[in-house]
């Protein structure tokens, strides 16, 4: 194995968190930073010509190559797990920019009580209301501590939206349920297409409080505090699963990469697959000494570094700790160990499919153009008489719909699935169909976790990561509760036919339900129950930091990217302001 000259900082993963940390440390200090990205190099100039539904949205050219590595999935620890042989319930990215290149851009903050979920829920309903095998925890950070970092993340991305709570003052038209914010959004809301306008009007009619979806897809040209200028969105409808052709959607390659490329002290190595964090006992306890990786030529190399960051998404962050033997793997039987615990996804359902008389022109849109209703989010409604805790947001989005994925969705009364009768119904429905989605909280449970699979291996012969995950009654009852609300909204919008969500059964690894996978290296206030401290610093290895949604103790209903970026900023500040002066435990 070749040993490279040491760098100050090595970062495994070149997506949102890895590149943000590289940019923060590399521009605020003189440290040398090496980012190791296992996918290929990418720039925003690569995207014209990729507006191809087949190659990008169906064959998924931007995602990780599953032939090299995947995860295995099972529902409980008595079963054998099956590999995810082709993509199903989520779509992790690969290449410079990671999944941040092909996201939709929906960018809400988490509700304040999400960060103190355990203590707030017990305080209000008592411990006996918690599900028997729950594993929910507080984050070790509060919304008030997060607020300045949320603001910074929103300004970096240029989020288009309408505030509903500035300094505690509720503002009609914004999300009046959101936590206080120190200022208005950087840019006004995006344009609202027809379907979302119908949704907005119906929601008002039913007494809800709809608001424009906060979007990382710019409503107008914007220059961020780093001096990065991006143009306004053209509403071409090619966001999710695509890189933005015009740079209107904030992506690591258009928002961070240009700054990184200006810095001589930061390098990005693509085609570099990190396999282990090398660690050992130093004078003052455990230290990471660097990482080993397979480079583009297939050679194994050791990159020594003083500071090591894992920024390689939930799956690989967890897997690298397990493969490197850092920390104790979680054991669901004894409840000991921490690495791999609290695996969550999200209650992501198409609650109602609405069929209208009039055409919707739904090819026009943008990944985050639309309207949200959060009246049933978090604990904003009383759960005393309800068979579940928490909730989520209803979404009437106009993301821009493409034909391969959407042709053939017909009202339930149409029984044919092919042939003339089906074709006729599908043609009639094609541009007259809209979806009311729901994004709800997935609580953490003792039996939902990640470990190493005993059977299946990756291309290097290392064990794959194994998911043990299933829904519990809390998620099923939540879906049952919200589905009729969505159907009522669809009817109020004027739908003549409505298909309602059939209900959550077992976790379906084959149905796409947002790429929001959390847990495995969770943050918290005690090393017995969490892997990293509230600054995402490893409890036992103080020069190792683990960034991203792997730190979330459980899934809040809102989409994770904005919070991931806010937490990364907070860690960067703690490192620059405190750790570099005194390299030791930050908490």
């Amino acid at each position: 194995m070749k040993t490279l000259p040491a760098v100050d900082v090595v970062i495994a993963g070149g997506g949102w968190t890895g590149l943000l940390m590289a940019k923060e440390l590399g521009s605020r200090t003189g440290l040398t930073v090496a980012v190791l990205e296992r996918g290929r190099h990418r720039e925003s100039a690569d995207y014209p010509g990729t507006m191809d539904e087949l190659d990008y949205a169906v064959r998924l050219h931007m995602m990780q190559d599953l032939s090299l590595e995947t995860v295995t999935v099972r529902h409980d620890s008595t079963q054998r797990a099956f590999p995810m042989r082709q993509y199903g319930s989520f779509l992790p990215g690969s290449g410079v920019g990671g999944a941040g290149e092909h996201w939709n851009g929906i960018s809400s903050r988490f509700l304040p009580d999400c960060f103190e979920l355990l203590s707030r829920t017990v305080e209000k309903y008592g411990a006996q209301r918690l599900p028997a095998d729950h594993a929910i925890q507080d984050w070790g950070v509060t919304y008030d501590q997060m607020e300045p970092y949320y603001t910074r993340a929103e300004r970096m991305l240029g989020i288009s939206g309408k505030a509903g709570n500035i300094g505690g003052k509720k503002i009609a038209g914004g999300n009046i349920f959101e936590g206080w914010r120190s200022s208005e959004y950087p840019t006004p809301p995006t344009r609202i297409p027809y379907f979302s306008t119908l949704f907005n009007n119906a929601a008002k009619e039913l007494g809800y409080h709809p608001y424009p979806t906060p979007a990382a897809n710019l409503s107008e040209p914007y220059t961020n505090p780093d001096g990065i200028s991006r143009s306004a969105c053209f509403y071409c409808g090619f966001c999710e699963r695509f890189g933005c052709m015009v740079g209107a959607k904030a992506q690591p390659t258009n928002t961070l990469l240009p700054l990184i490329q200006e810095r001589k002290n930061i390098s990005i190595r693509s085609g570099a697959s990190v396999r282990r964090v090398i660690h050992g006992d130093g004078g003052s306890g455990k230290r990471a000494r660097g990482v080993t990786y397979i480079d583009e030529q297939g050679e194994e190399v050791f990159q020594p570094a003083d500071l090591v960051f894992l920024a390689s998404w939930t799956l690989n962050n967890t897997r690298l700790l397990l493969l490197s033997g850092i920390g104790e793997p979680y054991d669901p039987q004894s409840g000991t160990g921490t690495v791999g615990r609290n695996l969550t996804h999200q209650v992501a359902i198409g609650a109602a499919t609405a069929f209208f008389e009039k055409p919707l022109n739904r090819f026009m849109g943008s990944g985050a153009a639309g309207v949200c209703v959060s009246d049933f989010d978090g604990d904003l409604f009383d759960h005393s008489g309800l068979p579940f805790l928490r909730g989520g947001t209803l979404l009437g989005m106009s993301m821009g719909y493409r034909p391969i994925a959407n042709f053939g969705i017909v009202p339930q009364r149409v029984k044919a699935g092919w042939g003339s009768e089906w074709k006729k119904a599908a043609l009639e429905s094609y541009d007259r169909t809209g979806f009311i989605g729901f994004s709800g909280e997935h609580l953490a449970y003792k039996g939902n976790y990640m470990d190493l699979d005993p059977t299946y291996k990756d291309r290097f012969g290392d064990p794959l990561l194994r998911f043990t995950i299933d829904w519990r009654d809390n998620e099923r009852k939540m879906a049952e509760f919200v589905t009729p609300k969505a159907v009522e909204l669809a009817r109020a919008m004027g739908a003549k036919d409505v298909n309602s969500f059939p209900g959550l059964k077992n976790y379906d690894a084959n149905r796409y339900q947002f790429t929001h996978i959390q847990g495995g290296t969770i943050m918290g206030s005690s090393p017995e129950r969490s892997v990293v401290n509230p600054y995402l610093q490893h409890w036992r290895v103080p020069n190792l930091f683990v960034l991203g949604a792997s730190a979330f103790p459980q899934n809040p209903s809102a989409h994770p990217t904005l919070t991931i970026l806010a937490l990364t900023y907070r860690t960067a500040d703690a490192i620059v302001d405190r750790y570099l002066k005194n390299p030791s435990a930050l908490a």
Binding site: M51, L54, P193, Y235, N361, P403, I404, Y456, A509
Partner: protein, 222 residues
């Protein structure tokens, strides 16, 4: 090297149609020539291609609601996909052990590649293209629950609505049928207008975009 195989199609059924349905009322225009074109096949034999073309036409028929799989060239699309990396499972996790009977919620767990699924199933459909349409429908109903049928149905929809760069959706016939404009760069001026009315810009394909002659479809990659 395999013998060159061709699919012979009349221009009346492929490439001879060009229509725009601004108000969602598609119509067909038949070419007045009796010429035929020979399209070189990349994966199928000619008998296989004829079976696939016939079956795709029963799934997405050409009828009074407008053109279907035949006019869009769905069989040509499927042939190219199977010949390319997707057909040989270039991107699928294909390590052992396989569990063919895994529950559906874990996705397809079988060993067979799309190429193998098609080739095996087509053996049992010999002469399918010679049957009457009623007989063809009956035959398809018998195999409706098989992985092959669900693959064929999925591929037929793909071939109807993919960018023409992939060999299907010839003349953007599928897009015209549903009023989809293809990769249209900007809807900035229209996205919050035309409420309740069909807005149907003329479709464009990737080839017509700036630099379009350089775009390479995924099936042509190694």
């Amino acid at each position: 090297m395999r013998r060159r195989e061709f699919l012979t199609l009349s221009t009346a059924s492929l490439g001879g149609v060009l229509l725009y349905s601004l108000d969602r009322k598609p119509f067909r225009l038949f070419a007045q020539t009796a010429q035929s074109i020979r399209i070189p096949l990349r994966f199928f034999t000619q008998p296989e291609a004829l079976i696939v073309a016939a079956a795709a036409s029963r799934i997405f028929p050409s009828d009074e609601t407008g053109p279907g799989a035949q006019e869009a060239g769905v069989a040509i699309y499927i042939d190219r996909q199977l010949a390319g990396p997707w057909g040989r499972d270039r991107y699928r996790y294909t390590r052992e052990p396989f569990e063919e009977n895994a529950p559906a919620e874990f996705g397809y767990q079988g060993r067979a590649t799309p190429r193998q699924v098609y080739r095996e199933a087509l053996k049992d459909l010999k002469g399918f293209d010679q049957l009457s349409s009623v007989e063809q429908d009956n035959k398809l109903r018998q195999i409706e629950g098989t992985p092959f049928f669900s693959l064929l149905r999925r591929n037929t929809v793909e071939g109807m609505f993919c960018d023409p760069i992939h060999g299907g959706n010839a003349d953007m016939v599928g897009w015209q049928l549903i009023g989809y404009p293809g990769p249209r760069m900007s809807n900035y001026a229209d996205v919050d207008k035309h409420f309740g009315e069909a807005f149907r810009p003329k479709p464009v394909s990737l080839r017509e975009m700036p630099g379009g002659d350089k775009f390479r479809p995924g099936e042509d990659e190694e």
